[in-house]
């Protein structure tokens, strides 16, 4: 479904990605790990069109997407969350999810201005359903900035699910959470996000990655240094070497 | 052809004044990442203090110069404390908005201090124009040019050969890193502002002493010239500021000569607009830097 071939990118002399190859099939759950700065987020940024590759290609369902704009790529069925958490702080929780529906097919300019009552009801009901799914229905009228961090991450998840994406990219979905919160988040992802779609999860929390992912890909300095089943990869000498001395390896 | 070269000469001399103004904007932008829109009016108020001394007390030219610079610095301090230091670092827009609120305020103060349309300003020099072949070098712009170049050399020395200058450059590059290295950011910003205000005061003085008159529109005029010159050369680049100033001076002089007074300012703005659309990085900047999407956070 997603095919990354020989992908390379640099930022003014710093090689962020070097000749990366990756294949993700429908319903694959792939973990992406590596020390800070190894290019994980850059890869997501490139898949979603924020950066155009210096070399290499990205194909989604046999369609070249490396030249497309982000807003076009999203409509193809790819959704993501952000490492630094991006939500509309000054909007309510339910509005944060509601606004993700804007670019769904069927929402033309007319709808943007004056939505038909039954469409509006249906859309709002969908928002409620998603909030219920992630457990935020009680906080629907709070401003997003007033939520706790774990709740904000759930909000991001709900928002990413609005378009029922076929490929979901999660960038440190448990970032900043305590072990207990991480466990809850992992369960939520497993129950709500994973079913029916492919997923790439970037994380530093190995227990979570092992529990959720069928396959792990390890990056270091922009190159793939290992790929395979979690048990194998996490014992791989090169992987251990890459992490030695780094605090990235936590068993949360 | 002779006219063209004469215009270039005149333009470069006038442009040196613009270059100083652009340097002022550039340093503030580099250190604070914000535009100080009250820059022009603060220089104007400094000039008005000098004018007051000249008109009321028949002060000497040097006294007027010093008064102008001191006035500009004092007002600059007021602006810095109120608009930039007092507003927490995150709220960049609020700072800029604050600076235009103060801009309004200062314009009105100026109108109150000196209500007439125009006032005389002492002449920079009484020398006769120099003649080099078929070209005339009027003495006032020439003196302005010489002083401006000297001042640019001073600024360069300060920025590249003093510890203060190093601190300024460090803060411009990366404020958080600078703070970790023990640089006192607030102090650096304060003194950089003071330096910039002084440069502005000198530039304002030079320009006015060349024109020998000052009007209440001077504040706005300074802001525009400085901004245009800075953007022409490339925002954030000091050599760009200088180049931009000179280019602006030449473009103005040429259009004044060939198209007439009405088109002089119009050409300057048109050039600015064109540069922004075609090459926002300015003459010295990159064509269009890769969009820093990751850092695209609002206030």
């Amino acid at each position: 479904m997603l095919r990354v071939e020989g992908l390379s990118h640099n930022f003014g002399g710093i090689e962020a990605l070097v000749g990366l190859d990756l294949v993700i099939a429908e319903r694959d759950v792939v973990g992406l790990i590596g020390p800070n700065g190894s290019g994980k987020t850059t890869l997501l940024n490139m898949i979603t069109g924020i950066y155009k590759p210096a070399a290499g290609r990205i194909r989604f369902r046999d369609r070249e997407i490396s030249g497309l704009e982000p807003h076009e790529i999203v409509t193809l069925g790819i959704s993501r969350t952000f490492q630094n958490l991006r939500i509309y702080n000054r909007m309510t929780v339910s509005d944060n999810v509601w606004v993700a529906q804007h670019s769904l097919p069927g929402v033309g300019l007319g709808e943007l201005l004056l939505a038909r009552a039954d469409n509006e009801r249906r859309d709002r009901a969908e928002v409620e359903r998603l909030l219920e799914l992630v457990g935020l229905i009680e906080r629907r009228d709070s401003l997003a900035q007033d939520l706790t961090l774990p709740d904000q991450r759930r909000l991001e998840l709900a928002r990413a699910l609005v378009r029922s994406p076929d490929l979901l990219l999660l960038d440190e979905p448990a970032g900043g959470m305590t072990p207990v919160e991480t466990g809850t988040m992992a369960a939520l992802i497993r129950d709500v996000a994973l079913p029916g779609r492919a997923c790439v999860i970037i994380e530093h929390k190995m227990d979570m990655i092992s529990a959720l992912c069928g396959r792990i890909c390890v990056l270091n300095f922009g190159r793939k240094i290992a790929e395979g089943r979690p048990d194998d990869v996490l014992r791989h000498p090169r992987v251990l070497e890459a992490y030695l001395g780094m605090e990235g390896m936590s068993h949360a | 052809m002779i006219d063209f070269i004469q215009n270039c000469i005149d333009g470069v001399m006038i442009g040196s004044g613009y270059a100083l103004l652009a340097i002022g904007f550039t340093i503030v932008f580099g250190v604070l990442r914000r535009l100080n829109l009250a820059y022009g009016p603060s220089i104007m108020l400094g000039a008005f203090v000098g004018t007051l001394l000249y008109v009321q007390f028949q002060a000497q030219i040097l006294t007027v110069a010093i008064a102008t610079v001191i006035g500009a610095v004092v007002v600059g301090m007021y602006v810095e404390r109120l608009c930039f230091w007092a507003i927490r670092r995150g709220a960049a827009i609020a700072s800029m908005v604050s600076s235009f609120a103060i801009w309004m305020q200062l314009e009105e103060v100026a109108a109150i201090i000196l209500p007439e349309r125009t006032y005389p300003f002492p002449a920079l020099t009484e020398m006769a124009p120099l003649e080099i072949g078929p070209f005339f070098l009027r003495s006032e712009p020439l003196v302005m040019f010489v002083v401006a170049v000297a001042l640019m050399a001073v600024v360069h020395t300060v920025l590249y050969r003093t510890r203060f200058g190093l601190a300024v450059r460090a803060v411009s590059e990366n404020p958080s890193a600078a703070r970790f290295m023990g640089i006192h950011i607030d102090a650096v910003m304060f003194w950089a502002f003071a330096l910039v205000s002084a440069i502005g005061g000198v530039a304002g003085f030079l320009i006015l002493a060349t024109d020998q008159q000052v009007t209440p529109y001077f504040g706005l005029w300074v802001t525009f010239k400085g901004l245009i010159a800075m953007m022409l050369g490339g925002m954030g680049s000091l050599p760009g500021a200088i180049l931009g100033g000179l280019v602006l001076g030449v473009v103005e002089t040429q259009s004044l000569w060939y198209l007439g007074a009405d088109y002089r300012d119009l050409s300057a703005y048109f050039l600015l607009f064109l540069i922004l659309i075609v090459r926002p990085g300015g003459i010295m900047g990159q064509a269009l830097p890769e969009r820093e999407r990751a850092a695209d956070r609002r206030v």
Partner: protein
């Protein structure tokens, strides 16, 4: 109602259009120093239509606003792909170009033996539609406020619609908006066009109120004022910029003691206010709080 009050209220009404115009762009995260250019286009074109071509006010108003909107759309397409600060300066450059173009713009026709029309820096006199049609000052004020009311009502509708939320999304987090499938430039250009239309209406009213136009009126200061009103009144609601206008032209004007010092006081007030309320008096959080409190109060009352 005495003439002075009518005059002040009319001023508030007309400048509110300019403030709303700047506000709409501010919502999308863009600071435009150039809305006064569209105000000017609205003023001049509507005046030309009524004073020189004999058009009635309504058609002149629509023509002028449409022209302003078209100009705003074109400028938007050219400039909105620039990053924030560059965009702001481009709008400044554009507005000054417009002003200077009006300085060299001469177009006159002879009516009843007298030349009528914009005459560059000399100005454009005798925009007499109001007198020729026996509209009193008070009646004119009412017309301004009726149209203003309609525009504000439309803004309120916009806030509840998807389009309104799109504008706000652009202002809060452009990258995120893009990640949700929105073509950022297209929507910003749309906002620019609408903002131009609103400014054009204001300008048209202004021309027929003062009956005299000159390029100097439409300077950067006017544009900066427009921006300040929204930023100090608050960006949470369309009432924000109106509060800003009311504060400056209404409240401060009323204080006789500070007659000649209004800008000093207003400028200082804005600077101080921004230290404590960087997003204005009625910012999004306050508006949200008001909305929630109102809802709770209403539910409790049942």
């Amino acid at each position: 109602m005495d003439d002075y009050v009518v005059s002040v209220l009319s001023n508030i009404g007309m400048i509110s259009f300019l403030a709303l115009s700047a506000y709409l762009l501010l919502l999308t995260g863009e600071i435009s120093f150039g809305q006064q250019a569209f105000f000017a286009i609205g003023a001049y074109l509507s005046a030309i239509a009524t004073a020189m071509w004999g058009w009635p006010l309504w058609s002149a108003l629509l023509l002028a606003a449409a022209a302003a909107a078209a100009a705003a759309t074109v400028i938007g397409i050219l400039t909105l792909r620039l990053r924030g600060l560059y965009f702001s300066i481009a709008t400044l450059a554009f507005a000054e170009m417009v002003r200077l173009l009006f300085v060299i713009f001469h177009y006159q026709v002879v009516i009843d033996g007298e030349p009528v029309g914009p005459d560059g820096a000399e100005g454009f006199r005798d925009i007499r539609w109001v007198f020729e049609n026996n509209v009193s000052a008070a009646e004119y004020m009412v017309i301004i406020y009726v149209v203003l009311f309609i525009v504000v009502a439309l803004f309120f509708r916009l806030e509840r619609s998807r389009l309104g939320s799109i504008f706000r999304m652009l202002g809060e987090d452009t990258l995120l908006a893009e990640m949700q499938g929105l073509n950022v430039i297209r929507f910003k250009v749309l906002a620019s066009g609408i903002a131009g239309f609103i400014a054009g209406i204001g300008g048209a009213f202004y021309a027929h109120f003062t009956t005299y136009l000159e390029p100097q009126i439409f300077n950067v200061m006017l544009g900066v004022h427009g921006l300040l009103y929204g930023l100090i009144g608050g960006l949470g609601t369309a009432l924000g910029p109106l509060i800003g206008v009311g504060l400056d032209i209404g409240f401060l004007e009323a204080i006789r003691a500070i007659q000649g010092y209004r800008m000093i006081v207003f400028g200082g007030l804005v600077a101080v206010l921004l230290i404590f309320m960087p997003r204005g008096i009625l910012d999004e959080e306050r508006v949200h709080w008001i909305r929630m409190t109102w809802r709770r109060w209403r539910n409790a009352a049942r």
